[in-house]
């Protein structure tokens, strides 16, 4: 409805995740109690495998992995090298047969397990793309159309028709990513590839993933790059020696994965009865009261922000309250934050609260924090009339013809 309303409705970005959360999203990837054991082959067991095939020592790469990915979501799988991330993806993608448990993947899978070239280095980029597409069952007419798209996206120029062995590592990566994401698949299994190429190309990769997400794609991103997980995934889990050792919202998981120190709230803390959800109405005056417990007689500063998460883009600040002193003696306090005509459209947001003190050199040292960066933010649920923009700024605008 651009142009129909005179005030409000800054058309900047699409409404965040709200739509995806409300529709009962069906799960597209499901695995239950998944286990994968590789046989360990030495001089003797090789012959036993070839001729007998009975009990051979194994190396368990995955055990009791249970996970679920809903339509439209990307699950982040964090883990160090050798934790079993690639094995998990390959098992889900059907390249490896699982040793135990069940796997169900509903939809066409596009997988990027490694940037290794499938096949011959003597092939030209063009032939490689053609081969990859036809191996994935793409019809001839479609291949022709996709090839020009790939050439354009990979930005290889004349190199597209040169053999792959003349490519630099970055060019190979660009070619491979372009090819592997050229089919608008429904399910992506991505291993460690979003950190390829230069900045310009990375931006393009992210844009492509966002497009695919917007078109309803889902998938799994296995990586040790936690920033990518924060950017793409609402939920994540940590794989360690083939087991899922942690799972939850991405920020919380990343926070624990990195082992970041958490302020312990000895000097001042949010009170125990701090609600975990704040509710408000869009475009109405809103007051948030936040109970805090100050235990020392020194100035305590308070700040808060409302942020939102969008898949493929990451976290963005929407509203922010500058740090200001709220108490200087011990006691229980109630901080009231009033937002006149709450300029947010309905949806789920993240409410982040900070208590801090002035340290040396005037910097703020956190005393207690409720924030997504620590994985313990509060929910901020805004109800009301749906809008097309995230924020509703009190703008006035009109269009007027200046020349015909």
């Amino acid at each position: 409805m651009p142009g129909s309303s005179g005030a409000g409705g800054l058309l900047a970005t699409a409404v965040p995740g709200a739509a995806g959360e409300e529709t009962a999203a069906r799960s597209v990837i499901e695995c239950l109690d998944l286990g994968k054991t590789f046989v360990v082959l030495d001089g003797q067991s090789i012959w036993r495998v070839v001729f007998g095939g009975d009990s051979v020592k194994g190396f368990t790469a995955l055990r009791n992995v249970t996970l679920q990915v809903r339509q439209g979501e990307f699950l982040g799988v964090l883990g160090r090298n050798g934790a079993g991330k690639s094995t998990l993806l390959r098992t889900l993608g059907g390249v490896y047969a699982s040793t135990s448990g069940t796997v169900r993947v509903a939809g066409l899978v596009s997988s990027i397990y490694e940037l290794g070239m499938v096949g011959n280095q003597l092939l030209t980029g063009h032939d490689f793309a053609r081969r990859w597409l036809s191996l994935h069952g793409t019809g001839r007419r479609r291949v022709v159309r996709l090839l020009s798209e790939i050439a354009e996206f990979a930005e290889l120029g004349d190199y597209f028709d040169n053999p792959i062995y003349t490519y630099s590592a970055g060019m190979k990566a660009r070619l491979f990513f372009s090819v592997a994401t050229s089919l608008p698949g429904q399910i992506y299994l991505i291993d460690e590839v979003l950190s390829v190429g230069d900045e310009h190309f990375q931006t393009k990769c992210w844009r492509r993933l966002r497009e695919r997400l917007a078109a309803g794609a889902s998938g799994i991103l296995a990586t040790h790059d936690w920033t990518a997980v924060l950017k793409l995934c609402r939920e994540a889990c940590v794989l360690e020696r083939g087991r899922i050792v942690d799972r939850g919202s991405s920020p919380a998981v990343v926070q624990r994965y990195l082992g970041l120190p958490q302020p312990h709230g000895d000097a001042a803390a949010f009170a125990a009865h701090l609600p975990s959800v704040y509710c408000a109405l869009a475009e109405e005056d809103t007051t948030l009261s936040i109970p805090i417990d100050v235990k020392v007689a020194s100035p305590v500063w308070f700040a808060c922000s409302v942020e939102s998460f969008r898949q493929g883009i990451g976290w963005s600040h929407l509203l922010q309250v500058e740090p200001r002193p709220v108490a200087s003696t011990a006691g229980l306090y109630e901080v009231e934050v009033t937002i006149p005509s709450l300029p947010l459209s309905p949806g789920e947001y993240s409410l982040n609260l900070f208590l801090s003190e002035r340290g040396a050199e005037g910097t703020l040292v956190p005393l207690d924090v409720r924030s997504w960066t620590y994985g313990n933010d509060l929910a901020f649920a805004v109800a009301g009339k749906p809008r097309e923009s995230v924020t509703i700024l009190p703008l006035r605008w009109r269009g007027r013809q200046t020349q015909s």
């Binding site: 082959l41 070839v50 095939g53 059907g94 066409l108 499938v118 096949g119 191996l135 309803g216």
Partner: protein
């Protein structure tokens, strides 16, 4: 929710299956064949021309050596050319067999990139590898027909009798290729040993010299040598305008079915362990 389908839905359950393969697999097999042909000669200036020139050159050498240098004769034959024709009608299929076996044995290990990154039935790789032998076979058959016409033989309908033999030969070889390809994943020496074994097999079977040259006791056994049966399957129709003996076709059919099914079962049993080695 916008549709992400875009016309590609995996249809399962309704497709026709044969020994666990469906139509998509057949399409993929064709892809692998095309891929194999391209890859083998990729980077060479003449490319696919070599697929024809190589076997042609080989047979040209044999023709020259046996017809003009050794002047070999078959017992009771007038000319050396008839020996060459006899030789090539056995050697051509043999060339195809050794090509098939070599290609299919290395097919899984040689395509580890595919095996690791694409979910597909890996059985297709040795099958496609074995079918690559069709190229030298086609070339040698054309060469042979040219020689036959040159020697004054008129083309005959009975030549078509080689078709069932050809089919059975590939079924048989594919079965062995499946076994060897699976074993080669674990014991990489297989592909190294293969040429030597093939050489021994070549000279132990009546391909370079007629069965009658072998000692009597060995002849009885060699009659059932699969390669002898295959070679005779080509020689009878092409040289003598006769159908191969029914018992030999039946024998070959049983052998081929056993080899193929056995190879397939063996391969499928072992492929679960491939991930430990690829």
């Amino acid at each position: 929710m916008r549709s992400g389908d875009d016309g590609f839905v995996a249809v399962r359950g309704r497709t026709v299956q044969f020994l666990g393969f469906d139509r998509a697999d057949a399409r993929r097999l064709l892809n692998f064949l095309r891929m194999g042909l391209r890859d083998r000669f990729l980077g060479s200036t003449l490319g696919l021309v070599w697929a024809i020139v190589n076997p042609l050159l080989m047979m040209g050498i044999f023709t020259f050596v046996f017809a003009f240098v050794f002047r070999s004769r078959l017992p009771g034959a007038e000319t050396s050319l008839s020996f060459v024709i006899w030789l090539i009608s056995g050697y051509g299929p043999w060339l195809a067999i050794s090509d098939s076996l070599a290609t299919s044995t290395g097919s899984v290990t040689g395509n580890s990139g595919l095996v690791k990154n694409l979910a597909f039935k890996t059985e297709l790789l040795p099958i496609a590898g074995s079918l690559m032998g069709l190229v030298p076979l086609a070339v040698s058959t054309c060469y042979l027909v040219a020689l036959l016409v040159l020697s004054g033989t008129r083309p005959s309908l009975s030549w078509l009798a080689i078709l069932p033999v050809l089919l059975l030969q590939f079924v048989f070889i594919t079965g062995i290729g499946l076994c060897l390809a699976a074993v080669n994943v674990f014991v990489r020496d297989t592909v190294m040993v293969l040429p030597n074994v093939l050489m021994i097999l070549l000279f132990s079977s009546p391909i370079f010299y007629p069965l009658s040259e072998f000692p009597k006791t060995v002849q009885g056994v060699l009659q059932f040598h699969p390669f002898q049966v295959i070679a005779e399957g080509y020689r009878q129709p092409l040289l003598y305008r006769a159908w191969p003996a029914p018992w030999s076709l039946a024998y070959l059919a049983v052998l081929s079915a056993m080899a193929f099914l056995g190879g397939l079962v063996f391969f499928r049993k072992l492929k679960g362990y491939f991930d430990a080695r690829i």
